[in-house]
Amino acid sequence: MTTMIRHHLSDQLLMGYSAGTLPEAFNLVVATHISMCDECRARLASFDALGGALIEAPEMASAMGSGALAATLARIKSADESTAVAPERKASKAVLPQPLQDYVGGDVDKVVWRNVGGGVRQAVLPTSSRASARLLFIPAGAAVPDHGHRGTELTLVLQGAFSDEEDRFGPGDIEIADEDLHHQPIAEAGVDCICLAATDAPLKFRGLLPRLAQPFLQI
């Protein structure tokens, strides 16, 4: 699935994902990008190894209660606790990598889109409230309203490509935008662009109309 990905995850995102401290919506973006990007998969392994090295460090090995070993052994012996078996995952030619399909309940054809104007469609995904995640459908050649950010916005391209003031983003590329970036993504001609976007604060739109619509669109 890896194809010429040029924009990768930051150390901060990989470390947060490895440590398990990111909001669910960001975890979903990271897991989806790694599903598409072998380079970041390898980098994640390094961050997991760093976590392993931390628990190996002598000062981290805090003493457990004196009854802990006995209690653990007792639980191991009582083998009646069932162990959940992870479902087999199989590779597919789907547009949505598996982590996203788990949220959507299938591939792109299962997404329930809502029109948000200008031919752009979106589907908000159910995540914790610390950050929000949504799928965006931008018709080839169309533009997303010009906007800035209060927090961090992650945009991962799943199909097609878009360009903004920063660069061009193709399948698997992730754009990490913060307060400083004010941008207007425009989908490339040819293929409709589908993105996964997550943000930990509401976006700031420049035009008046999108700002009025914002509370209704949940973005």
């Binding site: 398990g20 897991a31 599903s35 931390l54 460090a57 653990t72 639980r75 982590p99 914790s128």
Partner: protein, 140 residues
């Protein structure tokens, strides 16, 4: 697992992890990760479950071809690298090492660390960045 959870919860979590390690031991692949790394990932997932933290979806599994024979050499190299990483961690300046520990075990985002320590966010980010650069340099 001194992750802001109280001591009893931490101990229950540690026991859970040991039981899981025991049960899943046959699935452990020494060519892919060190034992400590494997235990770290089990502990992380257990902690997220217990504290009802944000869900953390896993990436899609890689589809390897026919399963290759485990290579003894791979696992030896991996063990050596893990040992070097532990040593490199110990060599880090304390300020940098503490930031890495907090990022992993303090259950805090970088901005939450900033609130808690009163350090500017930029300082925290740069200490972590310097620590990572130093580790990369030592291991390269």
């Amino acid at each position: 697992m001194k992750s802001g959870a109280d001591a009893a919860l931490a101990e229950e979590c540690a026991q859970d992890v040991m039981v899981t390690v025991w049960r899943k031991a046959p699935q452990f692949d020494a060519t892919r990760a060190s034992v400590a790394t494997w235990i770290f990932t089990i502990a992380r997932n257990r902690r997220i479950d217990m504290l009802r933290r944000d869900r953390r979806p896993e990436p899609e599994e890689l589809t390897w071809g026919p399963e290759a024979e485990p290579d003894q050499l791979d696992s030896i190299v991996l063990q050596q690298e893990s040992a070097r990483l532990v040593a490199a961690m110990a060599e880090l300046p304390e300020k940098q090492r503490i930031m890495i520990e907090r990022a992993y075990f303090g259950e805090l985002s970088h901005s939450e660390i900033a609130e808690q320590t009163g350090l500017p966010l930029g300082t925290i980010k740069s200490r972590i960045r310097l620590a990572l650069e130093r580790l990369r340099h030592t291991l390269s």
